[in-house]
């Protein structure tokens, strides 16, 4: 004990000794203090001093050189999602920074903690239209939780401390720190790093108000048909166990939003499935049957609610959220439980009665049987000659046993994968939910693997989305990271085609997309691969992919004009869900 104390004090002393370092070095020292081990980035003129400093930190900071800054930020998102840590990105000024925009918007809407460092031209050149100068702060303001431009190196330690604190606390989000080149080069007297734990104008979470917990518990205890709907807040709050105790004691059926997926094991008896436009039949239909709707860490996105004036009008809503601006935003809450669900859920669990709802759960089961007969059976065990996306996921489930991290892109394959993939563990579903960013999956899978090195990471991508960021195969090649890639190729931009079929009289307007020979493309990057289109080859092909020591690309040719059902058509209420 004494030794420990002595060590501690000696560390404190050493860090309080002032030394002269550059702004770039101060940044890297700050990252080390924040526990950063992995950075995704791409160098360029205005960030060169930081990269010069990074040369001396190569042994402590693993910098992943991507092929495009969009790849860097999506990788950082994937990393943050699987690891639970802040994803860190380096990009240069101008085009380097603007290439981050899509990822920032994605991270903002999906509450992903990121710290993005962008280089900027010398402070004296700001506003002169200098080479590679862009107004990064103003471009990124609406899509960041916080951003700040550093023009003086002495600000770097405190600003980076603030950036990490803001990115990961409360409702997480992306932060951009724009550092002018002079500040990166500037030498200053550095007296050590102090993490940030308080900003006076910022309240990441409130003190939980007991009276609202009591009101919520009273409402829940009086419910005859309570229904829990949960989102990513459960995962971000690291409240998976608290959530489970809550629903198990209360006996509530629980359905998830796309980002809440994997917070509760798929095969949990109270997990009744997915909400929303392509969610399961029961959860959508019975949203309009429940009497108390308990929303946890979710934000009533329009893809979840369908038409708001036909959404759960009969129900009293209890809304647990850490972000007060979400409460009453789309759906009026009878009882707002504002707070971190890690804290609010146990308080609520303590006050609710232990109950079961066998009849109510049976309503969900009956809906499920109906859905199996009309949709799921044909999707998972088709009699058609062509392969379905669903059977690929089923085979994958059987081979990974639900232990893999599944990263999806955007479109039909995403809906199918999220509907049918099995998950035993939290932080296993990585997808672009709110923004719907095609091209997300490949780079996100790379980051997801860096964030969970001991886990199998399978990226499931459409033929369209893959071609948006396929340059990141170069990142896989260079780093040797193991990512399993399944391209579900239906030779169409399938989701748009489905809408054109259903709502635009089959006027297939520019959805017919041609693809290169994906296996050959992978081969060009020294990545093994195979292509299958026959059912008899599917299982062995997936098995070979999983067993292969290294990254692997498997292209599966699936039915060209298959549709994803059920579906809540746009402009309809959740109860108007269509099974075909």
């Amino acid at each position: 004990m004494e030794i420990l104390t002595a060590q501690q004090s000696s560390t404190e002393t050493s860090s309080s000794v002032e030394r002269t370092i550059s702004g770039g070095e101060a940044l890297l020292d700050a990252l080390l203090h924040e526990g950063v081990s992995t950075i995704f980035g791409y160098p360029g003129g205005a960030i060169m001093p930081i990269y010069d400093s990074l040369y001396d930190y190569r042994d402590r900071l693993n910098h992943i050189l991507v092929r495009h800054e969009q790849g860097a930020i999506h990788a950082a998102q994937g990393y943050a999602r699987t690891s639970g840590d802040v994803g860190v990105v380096f990009a240069t000024s101008g085009p380097g920074a603007t290439n981050l925009v899509t990822g920032l918007a994605d991270a903002q809407i999906d509450s992903t903690p990121l710290v993005c460092i962008t280089g900027q031209v010398f402070a004296h050149l700001l506003g002169t239209d200098a080479f590679q100068e862009t107004d990064v702060i103003n471009i990124t303001t609406p899509i960041t939780k916080w951003n700040y431009q550093v023009t003086d190196a002495t600000e770097i330690p405190s600003v980076i401390a603030k950036a990490f604190y803001i990115a990961k606390s409360g409702r997480p989000g992306p932060v951009v720190i724009d550092i002018t080149k002079n500040a990166q080069l500037q030498k200053f007297s550095y007296s050590g790093y102090t993490p940030c734990d308080h900003i006076r104008s910022y309240r990441p979470k409130p003190v939980v108000r007991k009276d609202y917990i009591e009101k919520a518990a009273a409402l829940i205890n009086g419910a005859k048909k309570p229904f829990v709907i949960f989102g990513q807040g459960v995962i971000l709050g690291e409240a998976e166990m608290e959530f489970r105790s809550f629903i198990e004691k209360g006996g509530f059926p629980a359905a998830w939003t796309i980002l809440g997926l994997s917070a509760l094991p798929t095969d949990h008896p109270q997990n009744v499935g997915m909400l929303g436009m392509h969610g399961n039949y029961g959860p959508n239909l019975l949203t309009n049957e429940c009497d108390v709707l308990i929303a946890i860490g979710m934000r009533f996105d329009d893809r979840v609610t369908g038409r708001l004036d036909k959404y759960a009008k009969q129900a009293k809503v209890v809304h647990l959220d850490i972000d007060p601006s979400e409460i009453d935003k789309n759906v009026k809450a009878e009882v707002p439980v504002w707070g971190d669900c890690k804290e609010t859920l146990p308080l609520l669990t303590a006050l609710i009665n232990k109950r079961t709802f066998p009849e109510w759960l049976k309503e969900f089961q009956d809906c499920h049987i109906q859905e199996v007969e009309t949709v799921i059976q044909d999707e998972l065990n088709p009699k058609s000659a062509v392969l379905t996306m669903g059977e690929v996921i089923r085979e994958l489930n059987e081979l990974t046993l639900g232990d893999a991290v599944i990263v999806t892109d955007v479109g039909q394959h995403q809906m199918v994968a999220c509907r049918y993939a099995k998950f035993n563990n939290t932080r296993s579903n990585v997808t672009s939910g709110g923004l719907g960013t095609m091209g997300f999956a490949l780079p996100a899978a790379i980051g997801a693997k860096f964030g969970a090195l001991d886990r199998t990471v399978v990226a499931i991508i459409g033929d369209g989305g893959f071609q948006m960021t396929l340059q990141e195969l170069g990142t896989i090649m260079q780093t040797g990271i193991q990512v399993k890639i399944i391209i579900l190729n239906n030779h169409f931009l399938g989701m748009v085609r489905q809408w054109q079929q259903l709502f635009h009289e089959k006027r297939y307007s520019f959805v017919n997309i041609e693809s290169p020979d994906f296996v050959q493309v992978a081969k060009g990057y020294h990545i093994h691969g195979a292509s299958v289109s026959e059912r008899k080859d599917l299982r062995s092909a997936i098995s070979k992919m999983l067993e292969h020591d290294g990254s692997y690309l498997l292209e599966v040719h699936v039915g060209k004009e298959n549709n994803v059902f059920p579906m809540v058509p746009q402009g309809c209420g959740v109860a108007e869900i269509r099974l075909k």
């Binding site: 951003n147 308080h198 104008s201 601006s325 009026k332």
Partner: protein, 196 residues
């Protein structure tokens, strides 16, 4: 709910770029800002925005929450006209010869509480403060007499039942603030908010 005037009062850190961060909360939703004023507040180092918009209470409440969500914002209040005392300042430039020649004009100016702040051979500048209708009225009055230039400031407002921000700020600076600081209107005035 019908639209009416609301004054949003925002206490913030004095940070470059924050004006844009707040302004785009309105422009993103295609909501026009009728007037916007930034100034120091009663507390040194804390800035105060006064934003006037014409909207329904529900929209204003959501806007205020979005504003308060910004990291550098300490607090956002919104109030109806009944809950505040407000003023706008207006300047009028009029040809001096008309003022001197026509006694009536001088009387009109006095009636409207205007005072001359610059008198030159060629023009005179009058200043008046008041509500928009009052300053508007004077434009109408002066127009026939060759009003050369007119400008009006943004609304500045004091909230009638506010005790100021000094004690609040001390609370904000504490790591574990009292409930009062982390208040939220739907937690503290639930009865009022939830009667729909």
């Amino acid at each position: 709910m019908s639209k009416q005037e609301f004054t949003i009062t925002v206490y913030t850190e004095n940070q470059v770029g924050l004006l844009n961060r707040i302004a785009i909360i309105f422009s993103r939703r295609k909501i026009n800002i009728e007037s916007l004023n930034t100034s120091p507040s009663e507390v040194p180092s804390i800035h105060r925005f006064s934003i006037l918009i014409h909207e329904t209470e529900e929209v204003v409440r959501k806007l205020a929450r979005q504003i308060e969500k910004q990291v550098d914002v300490l607090k956002a209040y919104y109030n109806t006209n009944e809950e505040i005392v407000w003023q706008e300042l207006a300047l009028y430039k009029v040809p001096t010869e008309i003022i001197t020649e026509k006694v009536k004009v001088e009387r009109l100016l006095r009636e409207h509480g205007a005072r001359a702040i610059v008198i030159r051979k060629d023009y005179t500048i009058f200043e008046t403060t008041g509500h928009r209708e009052e300053t508007d009225k004077l434009i109408k009055v002066l127009e026939p007499y060759g009003l050369i230039e007119f400008v009006r400031s943004a609304r500045v407002a004091i909230i009638k039942d506010s005790a100021g921000f000094h004690s609040k700020l001390r609370e904000f600076e504490r790591k574990e603030p009292a409930e009062e600081v982390i208040e939220n209107e739907f937690l503290d005035k639930q009865d009022e908010v939830f009667t729909m």
